[in-house]
């Protein structure tokens, strides 16, 4: 035995693990009852000045889950996991690598389950027949010659003893991924009006501007509705621009973001404007003009000499569904017509025909995230599931067969075995195995 260091023992103890988990569980409750990430004023209004102050001193508000004391608890859990695993793993590794053929016969004789039978064959031929039979059932046996006979040993799932440590490691991997993400990544948002572009977004926590290194433009935003009026899809058509050239385009919806150079843009909200995007094309000349015009204000198209205004609109909540347009080119009476939001129509005038399309203007709310740690986190998650399956549902099963050479040239066989988990199941397996080979 090595000389035990009390500090090491403290950090290696399961008691500490239970304590830490218990403390994490109970303190985590607080942040679900007291709303997080609100403004200082909000807490004062809700709880009064004194209580709000106390909450802030205790770092329960505005964000207890990133407070020093909560992170320390998580850190303590990590240290505990590392030390406890380092403390126990060597012993487990010795069990995995153990020379089971060196197991003393006196111990094997006392083990359960156990089965004994006689064979007419010599120990050597019994042993080789048993080895063949076992290997056909997936047990690869090793043998060793002893003074009084032969010992066979076979095992399955020795490595499954590492299951617990795979789970412990997976938690550390997930934490590592989270640290990578928060150190090298950012979480930000931007409200981007249609037709506009930006190369800056603003972080959630400090509202600091982050340079994207490229431009992102919102070409179009629209909302689709189900027949019953529920929103069906929020869709933003986005373009990525490098030096003014479009290098990537994608129409994003919630659950289907756009990624470029490690930065991902998620559809998150929107803001309707009292303005309209109008496109007019002269069918004869092909002259095309795009404008943004406010509601009920006349706009003059300089090149084509047209005048146009949105004079009425029907809306579903804040979202316009139908638009009424007034248009004139000063040849004949003005045209007055309705069109659906986003629809394109042809307007026939005495001298010219035009195509007109109009839609309400929106800004799309994008969440912008860069998280280089996310794949590490996912790897940790996969590792955790693997570890849990191994730790809970797989066992290390071992069988020994001691074949004693009798004086009359026959042999007697003692078979025993054990499993580190699910012993009932192992005993059944052991019975089946015995019945399959005890005629040899």
């Amino acid at each position: 035995m090595k000389n035990r260091n009390p500090i090491w023992d403290f950090f290696a103890s399961v008691k500490l693990a239970l304590f830490t988990l218990f403390f994490l569980a109970t303190t985590s409750v607080i942040g679900t009852i007291i709303p997080q990430k609100e403004t200082a004023q909000w807490y004062i209004d809700r709880y009064g000045e004194a209580s709000a102050n106390l909450l802030q001193i205790l770092s329960i508000t505005p964000d207890m889950y990133t407070s020093a004391w909560f992170l320390s608890l998580l850190g303590l859990l990590c240290i505990n996991l590392i030390i406890c695993s380092l403390d126990r793993f060597p012993g487990v590794w010795r069990q995995i690598k153990a020379d089971n053929l060196a197991s003393p016969l006196t111990r094997l004789e006392k083990m359960t389950p156990q089965s004994q039978w006689q064979s007419d064959n010599s120990s050597a031929s019994s042993a080789s027949a048993l080895k063949t039979a076992l290997s056909s059932m997936g047990w690869k046996a090793k043998e060793r010659l002893l003074d009084s006979g032969l010992l066979l040993f076979a095992q399955k799932g020795a490595m499954t003893r590492t299951g617990v440590y795979i789970v412990h490691t997976s938690i550390l991997v997930i934490f590592a991924g989270a640290i990578i993400g928060s150190a090298l990544g950012f979480k930000a948002s931007v409200m981007l009006p249609e037709t506009r572009s930006t190369d800056k977004v603003y972080t959630f926590d400090t509202h600091a501007a982050v340079d994207l290194g490229f431009e992102i433009r919102c070409d179009l935003f629209n909302i689709e509705f189900y027949d019953n009026g529920m929103p069906k899809a929020y869709r933003s058509h986005l373009s990525i621009l490098e030096n003014g050239n479009v290098v990537k385009e994608k129409s994003i919806v919630v659950n289907d973001p756009l990624s470029y150079k490690g930065i991902t843009f998620y559809q998150s909200s929107y803001e309707p404007y009292q303005e309209f995007l109008v496109t007019i094309t002269n069918k004869k000349t092909g002259l095309n003009e795009n404008v943004v015009i406010p509601y009920q204000e006349q706009h003059s198209f300089e090149k084509s000499g047209l005048r146009l205004g949105v004079i009425n609109a029907e809306a579903r909540g804040q979202s316009v569904s139908k638009i009424k347009i007034w248009l004139t080119d000063d040849n004949g009476d003005p045209s007055l017509f309705w069109l659906d939001d986003g629809e394109q129509v042809t307007v026939e005038r005495t001298k010219n025909n035009y195509t007109v399309s109009a839609k309400q203007m929106y800004a799309t709310g994008l969440q912008v995230a860069k998280d280089p740690g996310v794949w590490t986190v996912y790897a940790g998650c996969a590792l955790m599931i693997l570890g849990l399956v191994v730790a809970f549902f797989m066992s290390h099963q071992r069988i020994w067969l001691y074949i004693r050479e009798e004086t009359d040239g026959t042999s007697s066989i003692l078979m025993t075995g054990n499993a580190n988990k699910n012993k009932v199941n192992f005993e059944k397996k052991f019975q089946t195995l015995t019945q399959a080979i005890n005629k040899i």
Binding site: V14, A25, K232, I385
Partner: protein
């Protein structure tokens, strides 16, 4: 016949299953055993058909989505999973008495789904946030976990009842509780059921995190639902460690199985109604 009728029938069939298992337990009428099992299997098939039909109806209504997206549908699936897991346990451990402690959970869930005025049974289309392939994976894995924890809590009750009677009088088979499996066996099944639930809860949390990341760019945001699922995970992690390494057993584990399930119910139900957060669409 539409899905609401089929699912409605299930409420009564699970009530009848509960009565059969209770009669088996109280009157020790062994003949009732196979009847209870067969009846429960049929009830499960009817419910499966009901859930399948609801799925089909959503396609006929032109919205085609899995029947797992609001409180009503999740409670129905919760009941389904409880019965499914219970039947596996009955088959695997060859004991029917557990039914008297597990099937009532499914009945209560169905009764709540059917009779509560607070939850809508209407098939409505999916809001944008729920339109994801992760929906099915996340909900199914979470509810397999929840259902296993419900059965484990039932087993915990069973253990505590049997334990009180054994300490009060010497155990013999003539008493009411003599028909319950030995304490060791109850404890073993409780533990195995919790382990099973823990694995699925873990997968449920992970699939939820992956989904959150694909929808919002954050796999973990400490929203109340996430936090409570983690609290539940901690409670079961504590339970498993206490048993494996500190040799906790018996009444302590039975109480933890019940306590853990209280946390599950809060995660599932309480958070939606008492706390605000990202999962609010589950509340109607």
């Amino acid at each position: 016949m539409n899905s609401s009728q089929l699912i409605g029938i299930t409420t009564f069939t699970y009530l009848f299953s509960t009565i059969l298992y209770a009669a088996l337990f109280i009157f020790k009428t062994k003949r009732l055993g196979p009847l209870a099992t067969i009846f429960t299997i049929i009830a499960l098939l009817v419910q499966t058909a009901g859930i399948g039909l609801r799925w089909l109806e959503s396609y006929q209504m032109g919205m085609g989505r899995a029947p797992l997206s609001n409180m009503y549908e999740s409670v129905v699936f919760f009941a389904w999973a409880i019965i499914f897991i219970y039947l596996i346990i009955e088959w695997k451990f060859k004991t029917r008495i557990i039914g008297a402690f597990a099937v009532p959970f499914a009945f209560l869930a169905m009764a709540y789904a059917s009779f509560s005025s607070g939850i809508s049974k209407e098939i409505v289309p999916l809001i944008p946030a729920l339109q994801s392939n992760w929906l099915i994976a996340h909900v199914v894995t979470c509810f397999i976990g929840y259902a296993a924890f419900a059965v484990a809590a039932g087993l915990g009750f069973m253990y505590l009842i049997k334990n009180t009677s054994e300490t009060r009088q010497s155990s013999n088979d003539t008493t009411l509780l003599g028909s319950l499996p030995p304490l060791k066996v109850i404890e073993d099944i409780t533990h195995k059921t919790m382990v099973f639930g823990f694995l699925w809860l873990s997968i449920g949390i992970i699939t939820g995190a992956i989904w959150a990341n694909s929808a919002w760019g954050t796999y973990w945001s400490w929203d109340p639902k996430e936090t409570w699922s983690l609290i539940t995970w901690f409670i079961y992690a504590i339970t498993l460690h206490a048993r494996y390494t500190r040799g906790w057993g018996g009444t302590k584990i039975a109480w933890l199985a019940i306590f853990g399930f209280v946390s599950v119910i809060f995660t599932y139900y309480g958070v939606n109604f008492l706390l605000a957060g990202l999962h609010s669409y589950g509340s109607n």
